[in-house]
């Protein structure tokens, strides 16, 4: 059985001055950056610059290395940007250039710019949150901010059992490989399909057992509320600095647009 080697990302090793902040302040601040960026149209592009500057400042304060940020953003950002890159060629609108048989539309370029900027800012904000805050801390913050308990509980279950599931898949694959299974053979798809089915059934069974264990400890369908602590001065200052940097920028850029 497992020797305690979880396969989720390791707990944050950076954080710098942000490490001691209440997770609620970091959640509010960094989600706030994303919301401000998403709310800005192309014409208010200086807002995106302001968001990028705030994120850069947060990264410096957190002592987060650009390489680490890029590594963590890699599973999310490139696929999004790859899809967005086709927008100028596939989206309708006025043609502004031609690439052989393909035409580049102004509307498509606008989509590319908006998706690219907003996805990049949102992803980097999420990465910075992940770099400076553990997942349990984030969940606790959401819980204290009175996020729907069912959602935080589902997220907690996903976090808790992802490792168990991955370990299960690894053991099943090892058992298949040890008996000569080669994923490249023509039968691989059918076998992998069965693996997924078995995994689903096992997960279902585990779900029932977990629920039974919850009932045995008095779970009655609702989780009790927990007292909410107060934010410290440093937490309030962090949120205030982010707000003071972005809200005026968003308003002014919106007026100029």
């Amino acid at each position: 059985m497992g020797g305690g080697c979880g396969h989720l990302p390791a707990p944050p090793t950076v954080g710098g001055r942000l490490r001691g902040l209440d997770a609620r302040a970091k959640v509010v601040g960094l989600i706030g950056v994303t919301i401000v960026a998403v709310s800005a149209p192309l014409e208010a592009w200086p807002t995106w610059v302001a968001c990028a500057l705030v994120l850069a400042a947060v990264a410096v304060a957190a002592e987060a290395r650009p390489r680490e940020i890029a590594r963590r953003a890699a599973p999310v950002l490139p696929p999004v940007l790859f899809v967005a890159a086709f927008a100028p060629l596939l989206s309708g609108g006025r043609a502004v250039a031609s690439l052989g048989p393909l035409t580049v539309s102004d509307h498509g370029l606008r989509v590319l710019a908006e998706v690219g900027a907003k996805a990049t800012i949102g992803t980097v904000a999420a990465v910075l949150l992940g770099l400076t805050t553990t997942f349990p801390e984030t969940l606790e913050a959401l819980r204290r901010m009175r996020a729907p308990r069912t959602l935080t509980l589902i997220a907690a279950f996903m976090y808790r059992y992802l490792v168990t599931l991955v370990d299960e898949v690894r053991r099943m694959r090892a058992a298949m490989t040890s008996r000569g299974f080669r994923p490249r053979s023509p039968f691989a798809a059918a076998v992998l399909g069965r693996l997924v089915a078995v995994l689903f059934l096992r997960s279902l069974g585990r779900g029932e057992r977990v629920y039974r264990a919850m009932l045995s400890r008095g779970y009655g369908g609702q989780l009790p509320a927990v007292a909410v602590g107060r934010l410290g001065a440093a937490d309030a200052a962090f949120v205030a600095v982010v707000a003071l940097a972005l809200v005026p920028a968003r308003v002014l850029a919106g007026m100029a647009a």
Binding site: G2, R160, Y161
Partner: protein, 260 residues
């Protein structure tokens, strides 16, 4: 004295009609440590689930004088702590601290009391250092100890453990045995691990076909090779009952409320 557990004529059939308990009678006194033995399908786990009201059959079942029925489930679940066989089923919260706090919070205790119980329970299983770690970061033995802490935090009078030594390496098993020997609770040990039963329990019952087939001092039951064999049980080859230290008297009066 009110028995810790009193079952009379307990019957239960699974939805497909298979009988799991067939008139089970058992009385356990407060503070007793009882090994519940038997072959697969004997009804051991089904009986365990009845003790907590997770399954409800026919017949009479009282825990510390309280009947197990729909209206008493909250009280019963505070009285009986179940430690399931697979700690991954039991530990579902993101951190050890949150998991141990789950039961006390369901009991609607104040946060200060919850924190005190979590701390005492983790101290009792020597896992206080892991309070902020995720369960998946612990070894199997550590997870088992934390699983025990999750029920100790509810301060139950009866602790029921399902195959507690399963999947443990020798060292983790030895540590677990020492830990269980120190707990001053009424304890039911559902197990196939007969040496563990010999080390921890004064009394053993053998379930077979959903009823009690044998009930007596643990060592006498385990010394009866014919009785064991007739219920698909056997001691490990070379195992000498005479060389196993007897079940310890309760050394620690562990109370989450009052400390040791």
């Amino acid at each position: 004295m009110t028995p810790a557990i009193r079952a009379r004529g307990l019957r239960y059939r699974y939805p497909d009609g298979t009988p799991a308990l067939d008139g089970l009678d058992l009385v356990v006194s407060p503070g007793e440590r009882v090994a519940v033995l038997g072959p697969n399908g004997a009804g051991k786990t089904t009986f365990m689930l009845h003790l907590n009201g997770l399954l409800r059959g026919e017949g009479e079942l009282l825990v510390e004088g309280v009947a197990v029925e729909r209206g008493t489930l909250a009280a019963i679940r505070a009285r009986v702590g179940l430690v399931f066989q697979d700690p991954d089923d039991q530990l579902f919260m993101p951190t050890v601290r949150e998991d141990v706090a789950f039961g006390p919070r369901n009991m609607r205790l104040g946060e200060d009391e919850v924190a005190a119980r979590v701390s005492a329970a983790l101290d009792a299983v020597r896992m206080a250092h892991a309070a902020d770690r995720a369960p998946h970061q612990l070894s199997q033995g550590e997870r088992r100890r934390v699983a025990i802490a999750t029920v100790l935090a509810m301060d139950p009078g009866v602790v029921v453990l399902d195959e507690p030594s399963a999947n443990l390496d020798p060292r983790a098993r030895r540590e677990l045995t020492a830990l269980l020997g120190e707990l001053d609770r009424t304890m039911l040990l559902v197990t196939h691990d007969l040496p563990l039963a010999a080390e921890l329990c004064h009394r053993a019952v053998i379930l077979s076909g959903g009823r009690v087939a044998a009930d007596g001092p643990c060592r006498e039951i385990l010394a009866d090779a014919g009785l064991l064999a007739s219920h698909d049980l056997e001691l490990p080859v070379g195992f000498d009952l005479g060389r196993v230290p007897g079940p310890p008297e309760s050394r620690i009066l562990m109370s989450i409320h009052g400390g040791s």
